[in-house]
């Protein structure tokens, strides 16, 4: 209970504290950021372990005349763990990345604020809380998106806000309908709409998915995501590859499993369409990615593609699919962050932001590029990396659901991922670059350390998927 509250509000409090530290005291600020991020991570683990053990940790109240509860179930706990743990890594990375940059105070203030919002989304116990934090997350991350203050960034920010608000609007409508039809908003008491059946449910589900799909970047609602790459790299890495987009994905998982319930969706006509929307996004996203030259945009489109993996898992409507989705959620996040971290190091150290100019970087920044390559292997779904397991269970789920073409789609996506990144990597290692730079110095090591640590974690999980299995199992058992 207390640990839940601390975990949740460390970020917000930390943000306020950081806001009070003068702009010049960078070192102090970094320590404070680290402290709060760490405390959040620690208490999230504390809470999550309790949740996995079957204990109920709950804070409930009333907000604006509506019941409001923070009540993590295993799914929320998993998301919370992903977010808070990676936050810690990204914080360290940001210390390196942001060193010497402008407006660090603003950056770290909102960086910490967003942590609370993300965890709020994760831990929300009913739709009201989910909606609230979902909305606030948009606002807390907006300053990060426009951090560069360039015209491009401002435009991206506007786009981001507009897309997100529209999505939130759709969700609000959907929530109202849900409440009107079921009278329930709580996640804890099983699927809300379980006993209702009607023609409107298809539309309601579409509304939900359309709303959350904005943040989950389902095509064609994805356009804000590549634009938002104007943000500093840690933000792109954490928020636009993991936290923010996962909040959308998480919302859809919630919709499928807590609002409708997989059994109900299994009776709706829309179940035929859903997996295919995800599948189309998977393929189209990565194909478009292959056509991008700017590395971060390419990664962004890859994000679009990979987010739909998770959705695909949810839409297969069976336990294996869900397990795959959760697995992919966990493992994909570690590697995607790594990729972005590497992109950040490359652009910071050499100024290279385009894939076509990447030749020779591997010789200059061997560790970075090695991490990048390994992460790419993971994106393809090769074995020593954890993403394989996610993909494996996703495919298993699809096949068990009798939709083997979906499994083929996943395979095709893996191949396309390879086409997308392997040439770049080979180039990076084989050409000789004209640039000179080194992988040394405290700044680089601050950036490099979390990157390599994440790769290690990914490899570790890949070799021993059993260590995250209890979490996945808890989620699956919760819903099935």
């Amino acid at each position: 209970m207390l640990s839940l509250v601390i975990a949740l509000f460390s970020g917000a409090v930390g943000g306020l504290v950081v806001a009070m530290i003068p702009e010049t005291k960078n070192r102090l600020r970094n320590y404070i950021v680290l402290l709060f991020a760490a405390s959040s991570a620690f208490f999230t683990w504390h809470t999550a372990l309790k949740v996995f053990a079957g204990e109920r940790v709950r804070v409930a109240g009333e907000l604006g005349g509506l019941a409001f509860s923070i009540d993590p179930d295993p799914l929320g706990a998993v998301f919370g763990l992903i977010a808070s743990t990676l936050w810690l890594f990204t914080a360290v990375y940001s210390f390196g990345y942001m060193a010497g940059k402008h407006k660090q105070r603003t950056f770290f203030t909102f960086f910490l604020m967003s942590l609370t919002m993300t965890l709020g989304v994760a831990f929300s116990g009913n739709l009201v809380a989910l909606y609230l934090f979902y909305e606030l997350l948009t606002f807390a991350t907006y300053p990060l998106v426009i951090h560069e203050r360039s015209a491009e960034a401002m435009k991206a920010g506007t786009k981001y806000i507009l897309y997100s608000l529209s999505g939130a609007g759709a969700i609000l409508i959907a929530i109202i309908f849900t409440y009107a039809w079921s009278g329930k908003l709580d996640f804890s008491s099983g699927p809300m709409l379980a006993n209702s059946l009607g023609p409107g449910l298809n539309w309601l589900l579409m509304l939900f998915i359309g709303g959350f799909g904005v943040k989950a970047a389902i095509m064609p609602l994805h356009r804000w995501l590549p634009a938002a790459m104007a943000a500093p790299t840690p933000v792109s890495a954490l928020l636009h590859a993991v936290a923010v987009v996962y909040s959308g994905v998480y919302g859809i998982l919630r919709t499928v499993y807590s609002v409708f319930g997989h059994e109900l969706i299994g009776q709706l006509e829309i179940r035929y369409i859903l997996p295919w929307t995800a599948a189309i996004t998977i393929v189209a996203g990565i194909v478009i990615a292959a056509r991008q030259d700017v590395l971060k945009r390419r990664l962004a489109y890859q994000t679009v593609s990979h987010l739909s993996y998770i959705l695909l898992g949810a839409f297969t409507l069976n336990a294996w699919g869900l397990a795959g989705a959760i697995f992919h959620m966990i493992s994909y996040s570690t590697l995607k962050i790594t990729l972005f971290f590497c992109a950040g190091i490359i652009s910071e150290q050499t100024g290279v932001i385009k894939v076509s100019k990447i030749g020779g970087i591997g010789r200059l920044l061997p560790k970075t590029m090695a991490a990048f390559s390994i992460a790419t292997m993971g994106m393809i779904g090769m074995l020593p990396l954890n993403t394989f397991w996610g993909k494996y269970y996703l495919m298993k789920g699809s096949v068990e659901a009798g939709k083997w073409p979906l499994a083929v789609v996943l395979i095709i996506s893996g191949i396309l991922n390879a086409i997308c990144f392997v040439p770049a990597i080979v180039n990076a290692f084989n050409r000789v670059s004209t640039k000179t730079c080194e992988e040394k110095g405290s700044r680089v090591s601050l950036m490099l350390a979390p990157t390599l640590a994440l790769v290690m974690i990914a490899l570790f999980i890949g070799l021993m998927p059993g260590i995250i299995w209890p979490g996945v199992e808890a989620v699956v058992n919760w819903f099935y």
Partner: protein
């Protein structure tokens, strides 16, 4: 003594500001005294209203009826302290006190010397008194008189700024408002002609019996009332006077005009529609459909108009048009949730819009610029003002935690109950548009670099006013309990079939 005061409290609440208003010109030379007097009246009103509200809330029996001069109902004028009245009174008190506080901070800049300030306060108190009267009165002709008092004082407030533009805007406002008053009076006349009563309850009882004999006259009354009050409460497309008037008025004036005055007329219309005509007649004449339709159009058109504006205050003024649309939409839903939502939205908009106008005014005063693009970086230089603006923007957009959300949520629930998807989509679209026209301001305020100028937060009373109002927004958003309860009860009472 105490019992005398408490039994006569309703009338005191109306009389006190009016009385003080008449005393003020004699004290014009002593600015501080004037200001303190006004503030103390406001505080007293607030206390009295809270007392009334607690009585209404906790004694759940019939509303307190106060008979003016001791004359019983059909002949004398009645004051009815019901849930609706108390609700609106509370709104008035909550908004007008901080606005007065803000006015105390600095008026010379906008209004002029001591004399003018005193006159400004006269009008201000007259308006507050009239609004309080509107909240409580149960008599049609009394409504007319109070509306006229309010209209005149509003016009006076707009023209309080010594600027030709103000005079022009006032004139437009005056002509249109007087036209509206004529229509209102005409409408009252029609009701009187067919029922022979001016007391709302009696008129309503009579109407429900005989309306089928004179369907056209009833309709005339309806349309006169709708248009008359519509023009005063800036219902689209009758809002044409509003942007000019509200953007040109001195800042406390525009706050209270946009925040409260418009709401007073809306409450009057609400009373006429529900207490006099009643639900049955509204349904018979499909008035509720008109209201929903007009409300939706107002939301969309108002918001888009606001988007096109470059001046901050004009943008806010247009936003009022849009928000009024929400309230009318709620009135047309004909169910408790929707009506309660509309009422709550009315209150929350009153608070929010006053905050917005006050903070906008503070920014304008500090920078001397009107356009939004000139406010770059003001968030750092005027943190409290900008924070108040942000909080109220979020509230207006309907973000949870802020009062706007509660209202919108109930409105949405109401639309849901009424069973059509269109109002729901419009409400949401309105929210998105609202975000679209308010967030750029915030973005410019916080995320663009400020010019090297010495902009500072306003002085203490003004800051205090802003903080108070923002706090109210948050409190109403987080614990709307009693307020929402009052709104719910008021809605239930209004919807009782007679």
């Amino acid at each position: 003594m105490i019992s005398a005061i408490s039994t006569n409290l309703p009338v005191f609440i109306i009389i006190a500001p009016l009385f003080v208003a008449f005393v003020l010109p004699t004290l014009a030379k002593r600015k501080r005294l004037v200001e303190n007097l006004v503030l103390s009246v406001e505080v007293l009103m607030l206390l009295g209203i809270c007392y009334l509200a607690s009585i209404v809330l906790f004694r759940k029996d019939i509303p307190i009826i106060y008979q003016m001069g001791g004359w019983p109902a059909p002949w004398g004028i009645e004051l009815k302290v019901g849930s609706l009245g108390t609700f609106f009174l509370l709104t008035i008190a909550i908004v007008s006190l901080p606005v007065a506080l803000f006015a105390r901070g600095n008026l010379t800049h906008e209004v002029g010397g001591k004399e003018r300030i005193a006159r400004f306060y006269v009008l201000y108190l007259l308006l507050v008194g009239a609004l309080a009267g509107m909240a409580l009165t149960n008599d049609l002709f009394n409504v007319y008189v109070l509306v006229e008092v309010a209209t005149l004082s509003c016009c006076g407030l707009v023209s309080a700024r010594n600027h030709p533009r103000a005079a022009k805007a006032t004139f437009t406002y005056l002509i249109l408002a007087t036209l509206g008053s004529c229509l209102v009076m005409g409408g009252i006349g029609f009701i009187y002609i067919i029922t022979g009563h001016l007391n709302m309850e009696f008129a309503s009882r009579e109407l429900s019996i005989i309306w089928q004999n004179n369907p056209r006259v009833v309709w005339m009354a309806f349309s006169f009332m709708l248009v008359g009050f519509g023009v005063k409460s800036a219902l689209f497309p009758l809002h044409v006077w509003l942007p000019d008037a509200h953007s040109v008025a001195p800042s406390p004036a525009s706050a209270i005009l946009s925040g409260l005055a418009v709401k007073g007329y809306i409450i009057c219309l609400l009373k006429v529609l529900y207490n006099v005509f009643g639900q049955t007649l509204m349904q018979a004449y499909s008035v509720h459909k008109i209201l929903v339709l007009v409300g939706m159009v107002a939301i969309i058109a108002g918001s888009i108009s606001a988007l096109t504006q470059k001046e901050l205050k004009r943008r806010l003024a247009f936003s009022t048009v849009a928000q009024v649309g929400y309230i009318f939409l709620g009135f047309g839903l004909l169910n408790t949730r929707g009506l309660a939502g509309a009422l709550f939205y009315l209150a929350s908009h009153a608070v929010i819009k006053s905050t917005l106008f006050l903070s906008a005014a503070a920014m304008q005063t500090a920078t001397g610029k009107k356009e939004i693009k000139d406010l770059s970086g003001i968030g750092r230089k005027m943190p409290i003002t900008a924070a108040a603006f942000t909080v109220s923007s979020l509230g207006l957009t309907g973000i949870p935690l802020f009062s706007g959300f509660v209202g919108k949520w109930n409105l949405l629930q109401g639309s849901m109950e009424s069973g059509s998807i269109l109002p729901i989509s419009v409400i949401i679209a309105g929210s998105v548009l609202c975000g679209a026209y308010l967030f750029p301001v915030i973005r410019i305020a916080y995320f663009e670099t400020a010019p090297e100028k010495d902009w500072k937060d306003p002085n203490l009373p003004q800051k205090l006013a802003l903080i108070l109002l923002s706090a109210v927004i948050v409190v109403l958003g987080v614990v709307p309990g009693p307020f929402l309860e009052l709104a719910n009860r008021a809605a239930a009472e209004l919807l009782v079939l007679r």
